[in-house]
């Protein structure tokens, strides 16, 4: 069985060699994604991976599914358009913490609120890798970087707590170096109807090498954590930022399902009938 998954997972591997640095966490996320797609037996021709700009946003090129490598920060609205145009597709959005929470941060709460069936995986390295190491929205307070030579004056964003506040249908955190668990999170995120968010720790070996410290610091949510209890989810998210696991679930219909129901419930009309609504009925001349 495991071998079968491995063979299937290999089918999602494209001929393009990833451009990432040796040891980059994104390799781990990519491997977990291959495996998750294999476990779900996704059809590459019916799967779309949407990304923005950044190291991790090159992800779609390394997968044999359809991909959309768009502009910086706009993966989520792009993914919404894909899914609403064809709800039969499996749509996954990927990107970095800067792409998702700095330039693209304005779209996140709306993606959550709309609840279109998209799974969003952030490869969170707490830095801007592609532009060589400036701070990102998840960088730590006092973190030194080329753009914060005196230390970062800003506090990091708690993206898991933000996602719970935005009422995402599924909120989880994983790590590139915990491949089995991350695979399972991606599987569950795709299976959950609506907008799923996975914050995946993915260390940058070149500019913010947290690999070792993160491996030591991460730990799983306790088994008894109640995923459908929003207050408990908040408490867990605020308690410790190194906690991994499924924090929150909110089972509700996805917006694409609601759109379909709205379409089905609406009375069909022809274009000709719509034009009739503007028609001037023929009249006799009526000048006094």
């Amino acid at each position: 069985m495991a071998d079968e998954i491995k063979v299937k997972a290999n089918r999602f591997k494209s001929d393009l060699k990833p451009i990432w640095c040796p040891g980059c966490g994104d390799f781990g996320v990519l491997a977990a994604a291959y495996r998750a797609f294999a476990e779900l037996d996704l059809d590459p021709d019916r799967t779309v991976i949407v990304s923005g700009i950044g190291c991790s946003s090159r992800f779609p090129g390394f997968v044999t599914t359809y991909g959309f490598h768009g502009v910086h920060g706009r993966a989520l609205p792009t993914a919404m358009g894909v899914k609403l145009a064809n709800p039969e597709l499996t749509v996954i959005a990927v990107g970095g913490d800067g792409d998702g929470f700095a330039i693209g941060g304005g779209h996140f709460p709306h993606a959550a609120r709309r609840n279109v069936d998209i799974t969003y995986v952030i490869m969170d390295n707490q830095t801007y890798g592609l532009t060589k190491g400036q701070v990102s929205p998840t960088s730590l307070h006092q973190q030194r970087s080329p753009s914060t030579p005196y230390g970062n004056l800003e506090e990091p964003m708690n993206v898991v707590a933000t996602a719970i506040a935005a009422d995402c249908s599924f909120v989880a955190r994983g790590a590139s170096f915990r491949s089995k668990e991350l695979t399972e999170l991606i599987v569950e995120g795709i299976q959950q109807p609506g907008f799923s968010f996975i914050d995946a720790f993915s260390p940058c070996t070149a500019f913010n090498n947290t690999t070792q410290s993160w491996k030591e610091a991460v730990h799983q949510l306790p088994a008894e954590h109640e995923q459908r209890d929003r207050a408990a989810a908040f408490a867990a998210a605020l308690d410790d930022k190194m906690t991994l696991g499924v924090f929150y679930r909110h089972d509700r219909p996805s917006m694409d399902a609601l759109v379909r129901a709205m379409q089905d419930a609406s009375d069909p009309v022809t274009l000709d009938e719509l034009v009739d609504g503007f028609a001037i009925a023929p009249r006799e001349p009526t000048t006094a």
């Binding site: 609205p77 358009g81 064809n86 304005g106 779209h107 759109v259």
Partner: protein
């Protein structure tokens, strides 16, 4: 003598029923067999502020809002103060007896009518004064009120006796006009019986209908004047066609989702105004680079920055043509009238699909919001084009960006075979990132080569003689006034030809040059400060032209253009009683 056409202006405070009165008058006149074209201005604020609604009614088709006001109805003093100077030399003012005092020189050309009083007597309360005003206009012009009565009954069918009260107000106004107002010269000539079916609608509505004919399935937009009603109209109708209209969090999300939907195989559109187009610039570049069909409506308003959101201008041309970094191919089109909106929007979708490019359609506030009587569109005559798809039986690896002689590469759609990555990064034929110099040159050439047929075949309308004293070359909604200006010029002994290309990028330079070769001189009228189209024509066609410009927030009148052509008088709009008479106020 009865008139061929009359321009009526209702003016008052926002909230006094000026707009609804104007709508009813325009619709009623259209139903009585006349051609109508409306023009309105209103404040950007939600409550209060002056607004006006002009209806030009003609026994034959009219193409612009009119040169001066033949009949001005003032609901209050401010309305008189703001508008009396635009009265035609033989025009007449009807004003509310309670609230308006006209200046002495207008006393002989005005009538005081107790608008609110008549409404109150009719039993509908003072709010019925707009219906009294509509009745007065019908009485003076000789328009039968029967059709308007039907409309009012229908409109207020569920509001108890409001409809009946409004009809009594309407009739009170009509009989007051017949019995107590000077007959004057405001009777309209009989309308010819209709030989063809007509519709009355706005430019934005025509754009929506044309988009539905084209197969629009996904719309996304962010509310912005004067484009919001496209979102609202489609939100109610698209689901009936199996599509959807989404209100996004900003214009960036709107165009991003449109590109996603189009990538996934839907025909997709967004509509905005200048500020929104600014936000979309980066994504227009992506659509050009990744070769994704999309239609972007820009209903231009007066800029820059917030500018005058409810006023018209043609100042986004440069942005549409050149906006964004790098050199991204795009098509820019401009409809010239409400009727033209049907066809241009279909052409826009066809160009987007055929060439896999973003198409920016430049409408403007005056065109978006004016009502116009037009011939019922014959959509069956407007072919719809779908993008080329890869051959299903094709063996071997699919190459999304295959270099072909015509530059167009078949586009696979998710759900069908041919998985590829659509990308804004420079790429090889397969879509994989590559930065080789030859490759970039070849791909840039491909992306622009695609559009060459459009420069050759894009639609142009040319009127008048092949050899003329003056050629009027323009774009967009100025065409109506220009067509009427050509007639005025001819009456003054100057032969004029007009030329309106619908496609501004790529510009049909050869055909414009050929047309211009028959003109003694070429004049380019446009509603902006810097003469954007004139500069384009000079640089791309190599043609020396005179640029006539106005950026007052108001459309050209035909006479303004004619006065420039025959006398060199620059177009000037004035408010606030600077001039006494529109007849002498120009120039």
């Amino acid at each position: 003598m009865k008139r061929d056409d009359i321009a009526v202006r209702l003016a008052g405070e926002s909230g006094e029923g000026v707009i609804s009165g104007g709508d009813i008058l325009a619709t009623g006149a259209a139903r009585a067999g006349y051609w109508a074209l409306t023009f309105r201005t209103y404040p950007a604020e939600i409550k209060g502020g002056p607004c006006m609604y002009q209806v030009r009614v003609g026994a034959e088709q009219v193409f612009s809002q009119g040169n001066a006001v033949d009949l001005l109805v003032c609901f209050n003093q401010e309305a008189f103060d703001l508008h009396h100077h635009e009265l035609a030399h033989d025009g007449h003012i009807v004003c509310d007896a309670e609230s308006v005092r006209v200046t002495p020189q207008f006393e002989s050309r005005s009538s005081e009518v107790p608008l609110a009083g008549l409404a109150q007597e009719a039993g509908g309360g003072r709010r019925g004064k707009n219906m009294v005003a509509v009745g007065l206009v019908c009485g003076l012009l000789g328009i039968d009120t029967a059709r308007i009565e039907e409309m009012i009954l229908k409109r207020y069918a569920h509001k108890g006796d409001v409809g009946e009260a409004n009809i009594r107000s309407l009739l009170a106004g009509a009989s007051f006009a017949r019995e107590q107002l000077p007959a004057g010269g405001h009777k309209l000539r009989s309308a010819e019986p209709e030989h063809e079916e007509r519709v009355l609608l706005s430019g934005n509505q025509a754009i929506c209908l044309g988009a539905l004919h084209s197969g629009l399935a996904y719309y996304a937009g962010y509310p912005i004047t004067p484009a919001s009603d496209i979102l609202e109209w489609l939100a109610g109708r698209l689901p009936k066609f199996g599509g959807v209209a989404i209100q996004t969090e900003d214009e960036i999300a709107a165009l991003a989702s449109v590109l996603g939907a189009s990538f996934a195989g839907s025909k997709a559109m967004t509509a905005t105004s200048g500020p929104g187009l600014s936000l979309m610039s980066e994504l227009v570049g992506l659509a050009g680079m990744a070769e994704i069909p999309a239609v972007i409506i820009d209903s231009q308003r007066s800029g820059p920055s917030t500018g005058m959101p409810t006023k018209t201008e043609q100042s986004d041309l440069n942005h549409a043509l050149y906006g964004g970094h790098g050199e991204a191919p795009r098509v820019v089109m401009a409809p010239t009238s409400v009727e033209d909106c049907f066809q241009v929007i279909v052409e826009a979708f066809n160009a987007a699909e055929r060439f896999q490019v973003p198409v920016i359609v430049l409408s403007d506030q005056s065109l978006s919001h004016r009502l116009e009587t037009v011939r019922r569109p014959d959509f069956s005559a407007m072919d719809v084009v779908d993008r080329a798809r890869p051959d299903a039986g094709q063996n071997g690896a699919y190459r999304r960006y295959e270099l072909r002689p015509d530059g167009v590469s078949p586009m696979a759609v998710p759900g069908a075979r041919g998985a590829y990555v659509s990308t804004g990064i420079e790429h090889d034929e397969a879509g994989n990132p590559h930065y080789e110099p030859e490759l970039h040159e070849a791909m840039m050439a491909k992306r622009f080569r695609k559009l060459e047929p459009l420069a050759r075949n894009g639609r142009i309308t040319i009127t008048g003689p092949e050899r003329a004293d003056v050629g009027l070359l323009g774009w967009g909604s100025t065409e109506g006034a220009v067509l009427e200006a050509a007639q005025i010029c001819l009456d003054r002994g100057v032969k004029v030809s007009t030329c309106y290309p619908r496609t501004l990028a790529p510009l049909p330079v050869e055909r414009i040059a050929e047309w211009a070769s028959g003109m003694d001189r070429v004049v380019v009228p446009e509603l902006n400060v810097t003469g954007q189209f004139a500069r384009l024509v000079r640089s791309d066609v190599g043609l020396e032209v005179s640029s006539v410009r106005k950026a007052s927030g108001l459309p050209f009148t035909a006479r303004q253009i004619a006065d420039y052509v025959t006398e060199g008088a620059p177009p000037v709009d004035r408010t606030g009683g600077i001039a006494e008479d529109a007849e002498v106020s120009v120039g």
